[in-house]
Chain length 249, copies 2
Amino acid sequence: MGKHSYKYPLPAVTVDIVIFTISRRGELDVLLIERGDAPFKGQYALPGGFVDVGEGYREGATQGESLDAAAARELREETDLDVERDDVFLEQLYTFGTPDRDPRGRVISVVYYALVGMDVAPRVRAGDDAARALWAPVRSTDALDDDSEALQIVLAFDHAQVLRVAAERVRGKIDYDPRIARALLPAEFTMNDFRRVHEIVKGIPQDSSNFSKRFRRMIEDGRVEEVGAVAGMQDRGRPSALYRFPEAS
Amino acid sequence: MGKHSYKYPLPAVTVDIVIFTISRRGELDVLLIERGDAPFKGQYALPGGFVDVGEGYREGATQGESLDAAAARELREETDLDVERDDVFLEQLYTFGTPDRDPRGRVISVVYYALVGMDVAPRVRAGDDAARALWAPVRSTDALDDDSEALQIVLAFDHAQVLRVAAERVRGKIDYDPRIARALLPAEFTMNDFRRVHEIVKGIPQDSSNFSKRFRRMIEDGRVEEVGAVAGMQDRGRPSALYRFPEAS
DNA sequence: AAAATAGTGTCTGTCAGACAATATGTC
DNA sequence: GACATATTGTCTGACAGACACTATTTT
């Protein structure tokens, strides 16, 4: 036993999460946390934390939690949302490990991304460090040289790059993975809600007529079903039917 | 200075690579290494090794190599192939970090996958531990209960699962990412070579006629070009034209 | 000519994009 | 009725799957 003893330096491993939702203003928002300590104190960063590795890299050691579990835990801690209970979409995105991305030493970050419904997103501020959490439009973290009227947020570490990769993944996936739109929508939604989710994620307008055909196919295939009521009061115009995703799917 | 000192246990981080090629027998092959030490001594595993993290997680420490660099280095060490020089496709796949996947302690593996051309694959045995390297059909690592005639290979660690994820990624990507087929093909190839690569990767026959239409579109768009010669001797039948991918693309 | 492989043509169904038309609600 | 929004319909072009057909080589 114990003959194995590893004396080489080891990195720290964190799990960070890019949590997306759709704001009431119709924008793609991401959850940011204001840093309370150096480095980057006072700047905004993606939520994240060290993976519980038990007793670490040692023969016979306890080995702690899985990466998926760490991500789910992080989500719970920051938002009070549970992957199971609240139908949150959570998936591994990419692992970032460039040297010098963290001045405290070599840190490798396994990044996940999550999608939470516009109906449950407000519950986030119930979390631990409510005051430090902020839903910010993804747009506000882009580097736009000209448009000076909009609020600009400069992210800590390499998180601007991380966010860009995450947003691109969601954009590229929404067309063929129905779980994306499903996770972002509330339990009941109109066809227009559905279309607008696609518009917001992809950033380009979707023809409502063509979208309707696509939606009809989904109904025929049983991928969505009518709930048998119409949407509540609107400013004007004909109210739309309400739909939902079937339980088992 | 030095006020920061992290006393918590840390995991080890490795980079493993799933290296695919297409064998002369027309199968999807993966490069395996026979393990020389415990655990799993004598069994086959994916090539991989620890990431150089410099002085590790310590304030002011040197931080070593990037993950991409570690993967490229690993590829060079095991196969004598260079990502730049030899047109090898190399991309991060997924990070595996389940507890107890390695009995030596907590190990988190950032897995990459690589695609090498059928023409350069034979050069692999020039590598360091030539005797320990083996090109094995991916099929031979699947758990098939019935077909007892074929050679079965049981992989070390959770590498059977890793390999499955990698193969699925390639399968799902070959249809929309032209770099996949390009990396697997030699510099000059026939339309049938191209079709067979798709058949081998996807595991289902591709109609040569429909494939031809698709190929013609690629020619019209300049994504492939005729080389102006015909393939060498075959057993019988009409010889086919040779094509290549244009330089800049 | 027969065999074998290379490559083309045709038909059909699905689906996206553009745009016109109709339906149903509020004020 | 005027207006706003919801929903359906039509035309077109791109493309995949199935399958019949033609072309060019070796034996």
